[in-house]
Amino acid sequence: MIEQTPWFVLSCSILATFFWRALGVAVASRIDPNGPIFQWFSCVAYAMLAGLITRILLLPVGTLEQTSTVDRVAAMIIGFAVFIIFKRNVVAATVTAFLVFLTLAALRQASVF
């Protein structure tokens, strides 16, 4: 039985993560960036990331699990309104969503509602 020191476990996890990175790099050099396979990879990458982000916001695991779904969704809706009003300004939308969420979370912690 191998002793599971934190650094040993971490080293294994780093290598296991690097496997995907290296595989991607190796595949990238054998692929035509104008061809359909590249287009497909592009769709897969964007779909994966979009799916991950909505999953984190709607069905969080870990730290965000302690927050209210109503707060998260409300902050995103108001942020999105700013995003559209300010002509797709990512910074303004992000800061707004953050501040709305911060306010709601603070009020909740103070038992205002």
Partner: protein, 249 residues
């Protein structure tokens, strides 16, 4: 001047490496640096709560360099899960790096430095760095992309290390709502980043992925992200081709 270029006899015209590197640092400081910093503060306090030391927090931030995989490793290690389960879960949680690097690396094709450093580039890539590279590099001269990318990456990794350290040191002293809001910041940012993509196939992929992601997660929590990518990505790919074909008629 900062010159990342290793000694070589490349005969390309002189490139403003330092300038491109610094514009990478600046690009990171406008948003991504702070996003990484904020989300890693959450991870830093998790490390402390799990009873681990800061060196593991920093090591996993630099080494794994992808929050879902870091969280998976930490949570499973804390409950004493078997080694294989920890490695599988943390690796699966970061499987997205595979298609991400496939899509990103061809932008650097033709730059011999980028070719030489390609596995380093793959290691330092994160979702924050990837989105900056994907939106900024195509408009840039080829030879400026590599130093720009390295600038963004260095700034973001610094942000990650500072964030995990701050979170570890401040764990328990910050009000809970502040910690929660900091963790909320980065996913919120990505919603707007991905709402800004321009290519039609990417827009379709983002929409289908965003809708199906949480649904597929409920069916297969551990494999949700890769399955979403395959299913929604493939659907988007064919839908895009269908629309293109219709448009040509």
């Amino acid at each position: 001047m900062i010159d990342l270029k290793p000694a070589s006899s490349d005969s390309e015209p002189p490139v403003k490496n330092g300038k491109a590197f610094i514009s990478g640092l600046i690009a990171a400081l406008t948003m991504p640096f702070w996003m990484v910093f904020a989300s890693m503060t959450g991870f830093g306090s998790m490390v402390r709560t799990a009873g681990l030391n800061l060196d593991i927090g920093i090591g996993s931030t630099i080494g794994i360099w992808g929050l879902p995989g870091q969280v998976a490793m930490l949570e499973l290690f804390a409950i004493g899960a078997p080694l294989l389960a920890i490695i599988t879960a943390s690796s699966m949680a970061n499987l997205r790096f595979m298609p991400m690097s496939v899509v990103m690396m061809p932008m650097f094709r033709g730059d011999r430095r980028a070719h030489r450093w390609r596995y380093v580039m793959g290691q330092v890539m994160s979702i924050n760095i990837w989105t900056v590279a994907m939106s900024r590099c195509p408009e840039m001269p080829l030879m400026e992309r590599f130093p720009f990318y390295m600038g963004v990456s260095l700034a973001c990794m610094t942000g990650g290390v500072l964030g995990v350290t701050a979170g570890f040191v401040l764990a328990g002293t910050m009000p809970l709502y502040v910690t929660l809001s900091l963790v909320f910041l980065n996913p919120a940012y990505f919603v707007f980043v991905f709402s800004s993509v321009r290519a039609r196939n990417c827009i379709i992929a983002v929409i289908i992925g965003a809708i199906t992601g949480p649904l597929i997660h409920q069916i297969a929590p551990n494999w949700g992200v890769p399955i979403t990518g395959l299913v929604a990505g493939t659907a988007a790919f064919f839908l895009d081709r269908l629309i293109r074909r219709r448009g040509n008629d």
